[in-house]
């Protein structure tokens, strides 16, 4: 698979667009498990577990990590992060108030604790004692400055939509290490906002991020050449304990074959984003280690529920039943993943794991189509090589649909503008998503006023359920509401979610402490302060 792509015409050699496809913001409104998490201490269970398996960490050394990058336009401004390489650099230099654990629940980071008032509209966040690389303490004013910078209406920072629930005019610093956030509406999942993609804390005042970035992260800045490399050194004063590595260099190699070759040739010790075929070729061969981050990339088709033929619930159900998910995972993801059950967030907090796994049932699908008067249905499936596996999945599904008497025409569109093209046009399209909390998936994609509602799922009662969840303090009660929403989506939603792809990383045999239970975009993914060289 990789070979064909690599030797394809020039246009397919910019993985950054595939990559860009994979960035996942936790935008929209948000927050999970707020009160129950208050007072948790930082540090993540999985990285510590990994550390135990690998023996006692050794200090020292330089780790070179290869990522696909964004070319000469790259920046170290953490609020402009959009690619995986951006985030890897941002999390070396900066911290967020919270970040996502392995199940995408918010874990405290620079925030030591948080609590809300009974109405869930006023949140008090206490900062831990931490300092920026220039020795200044991280204060409540820095937090407010950072969030106001992101929310600047003149700018288009990605996290702006995620911070939307906060009324930044009314929010204030109670003392040096306490921030009071005033929200526009009850938001039980407010900690998700603190963990949002790109919501990094920077010191107050203007700074030149590309020549001398100052953050509070585990590494200090040494040098940066956009599109080539960024070098960082251990921050001995890091609040969570100094990293084991002396130095970290993040290098850019856009071609997957170059990343694996550089790893095999000893030029880097960590290669991000490998193909399943590459992984299979090297797994267990002893030359390099392969780490699979499960549940990292949702793979789906979206059906526009507001127009024929998918405005008929029976047609949607028939399509759910047409999919042979195992075949899709094996064919389009080369087996590197697991099957989906038409619900987002397998393995994440609040996931409705008790719903029965949907299987292919062509007879029932045919009967449903007949009932709906949609025999000999013809549908156009929009797809694009914007994410790996898209075009393969489209042709596999076309053949599966043919068995149920549905004629699907696969239409391949431009990868650069794909996401905008399918947002409002067409009826049926390939879709994917990176990891984010289930609540964020709902708020960004499934409410009447969601900004990227590709299934056109617009139901007053569903919106009301979401508001109810966000106004419910008790976590179990909230989980019950999420379960109701998911049951409905499972029965008649517009997302045909057939699988979840692994995110594959290769490391040199000397590298230890790389967390494997860390979906891409979560705290422990691309986290180099816990890594060491044996």
């Amino acid at each position: 698979m990789h070979k064909t792509r690599a030797s394809a015409p020039v246009a397919s050699r910019f993985p950054e667009l595939r990559r860009r496809g994979f960035l996942a913001a936790a935008g929209g409104v948000a927050g999970v498990g707020a009160l129950t998490l208050a007072g948790c201490t930082g540090g993540s269970a999985s990285s510590e577990a990994a550390a135990e398996e690998d023996g006692k960490p050794r200090r020292g050394g330089r780790l070179r990590a290869a990522f696909a990058g964004g070319g000469a336009g790259e920046t170290l401004d953490p609020h402009l992060s959009s690619l995986f390489s951006d985030v890897a650099r941002a999390k070396a230099l900066f911290d967020k108030l919270a970040d996502y654990g392995p199940d995408l629940s918010a874990q405290p980071r620079l925030a030591a604790s948080w609590e809300s008032d009974a109405g869930l509209k006023r949140w008090t966040v206490t900062l831990r004692e931490a300092e920026f690389h220039d020795g200044r303490p991280v204060t409540a004013e820095d937090v407010l400055y950072s969030y106001r910078r992101i929310a600047d209406p003149e700018q288009a920072f990605r996290a702006k939509a995620s911070l939307e629930p906060i009324d930044l005019e009314a929010s204030r610093a109670l003392d040096a290490r306490t921030v009071e956030f005033v929200l526009k509406r009850p938001t039980a999942e407010f900690p998700n906002v603190l963990a949002a993609f790109g919501a990094y804390i920077v010191p107050e005042g203007p700074q030149d991020f590309d020549t001398k970035p100052v953050g509070s992260g585990p590494f200090r800045f040494i040098s940066f050449a956009p599109g080539r490399s960024a070098v960082f050194a251990r921050n001995d004063a890091y609040w969570e304990g100094a990293p084991h590595l002396d130095e970290l260099e993040i290098v850019v190699a856009n071609e997957e074959s170059a990343r694996i070759n550089a790893l095999l040739g000893g030029q880097v010790e960590y290669a991000h984003e490998l193909n399943p075929t590459t992984a299979r070729a090297h797994e267990g061969k002893g030359r390099i280690e392969i780490v699979r981050l499960r549940n990292s990339a949702m793979q789906a088709f979206v059906m526009k529920t507001d127009r024929p033929p998918f405005d008929d619930q029976r047609v949607r159900e028939a399509f759910f039943l047409i999919a042979d998910r195992r075949e899709l995972v094996d064919g389009a993801l080369s087996g590197a993943g697991e099957v989906g059950n038409d619900l987002f967030g397998k393995g994440y907090e609040y996931y409705a794991a008790d719903l029965p796994q949907r299987e292919q049932d062509l007879d029932r699908a045919r009967a449903l189509l007949k009932e709906a008067g949609a025999e000999n249905l013809k549908v156009t499936l929009d797809t694009s090589p914007v994410a790996s596996g898209f075009t393969e999945a489209a042709t596999i599904f076309r053949d599966q649909a043919a068995e149920a008497g549905v004629t699907i025409t696969v239409k391949t569109g431009s990868k650069d503008s794909y996401w905008k093209d399918i947002l409002d046009s067409g009826t049926f399209a390939s879709y994917r998503s990176g990891a984010m909390p289930i609540e964020a998936h709902i708020s960004q994609r499934l409410l009447t006023d969601s900004t990227t509602n590709a299934t056109k799922w617009q139901h007053e009662d569903f919106d009301a359920l979401y508001r109810q969840a966000q106004s419910t303090q008790d976590k179990e009660e909230r989980a019950a509401v999420y379960a109701r929403m998911q049951r409905r989506l499972h029965a008649e939603g517009g997302f045909l979610i057939w699988g979840f792809g692994d995110w594959i990383i290769g490391t040199a045999r000397t590298v230890r402490g790389v967390a494997s239970k860390a979906p891409a975009n979560s705290l422990d993914w691309a986290r180099f302060d816990k890594v060491w060289l044996a």
């Binding site: 860009r20 070179r64 920046t75 905008k420």
Partner: protein
Amino acid sequence: MSGVRSWVVRRLLLGLGQTAAVVLLVFALTEALPGDAAVVLAGDQPDPDRIAAIREAMELDRPAHERLLDWAAGLLHGDFGTSLVSDRPVSTYLADGFGPTLLLAGLTVALLVPTGVGLGVLAARHEGRFVDRLVSSTTLGVYAVPEFAFGVLLITVFALRLGWLPPTAVGYGTDLLGHPAALVLPVVVLLSRPVCSLARLVRAGMIDALDSPYVAHARRYGLSGVRLRYAHALPNAVAPAAQQLARTIDWLLGGVIVVEALFVIPGLGTVLINAVAERDVPVVQGLAVVFGLSTVVLNLGADLVTHRLTPRAGVAA
């Protein structure tokens, strides 16, 4: 000679016009591509409000002709404008990408001319015999292998199996000269096909020239074989090769993306690919100017060389 001078001036003026036309065409085509920089930047979060805000920040909401005129006015002062994506000057993009590309192109050409001409002459001297067949079949065979496949093959054998050379230049940035070993495989890949086409052209030209009446005449005068071959036949054989060489240098200066991607060398090809994918119009236009001018100058140079080697072919604007 004044005829040649006015011809050169006319060619340069024409070249400027051609470059302007290329820039216009590139601008129009980039505008015609689906989606603009704002849409690309928004990626999988195509929130209409956000796209509108990005568009405004990039000033993409202004009419296309205004943006083009502004950019052209800046160009007259030597200002290539700033990138839409990063707000950095386009000239730094060009300067950063030009170093590695120039280094690779220079090394390749320095090796290409002696190897290509040498092989061509060698084959021509042994026309129809074993050496000729060996050279011809090898060059034809290598020519048939695409750069990407050849590169992968070389990396697998010489870098990963034998461990003689580094597989990529990752992390070396612009300091490629500090790591000469990393340059070996890329240059070999870049050389592979041009050497073959050059050698075949020289061989054919040599054979024609050696068969020509004027060489036969020179031979009747009793000139030595060496002088015949190198002073009389070779210039005629090299004339067509000069044109081919100009095209090859042009190709190299454009940044050979296959090689840059495979070996992680951030040259002009990488800059171009990224800029087009991001719809970073000012960067694309800057590159179009550079590529246009280098094509014009190289072709002019090739014509002048041809003119010197074979004056009677004459020149035509």
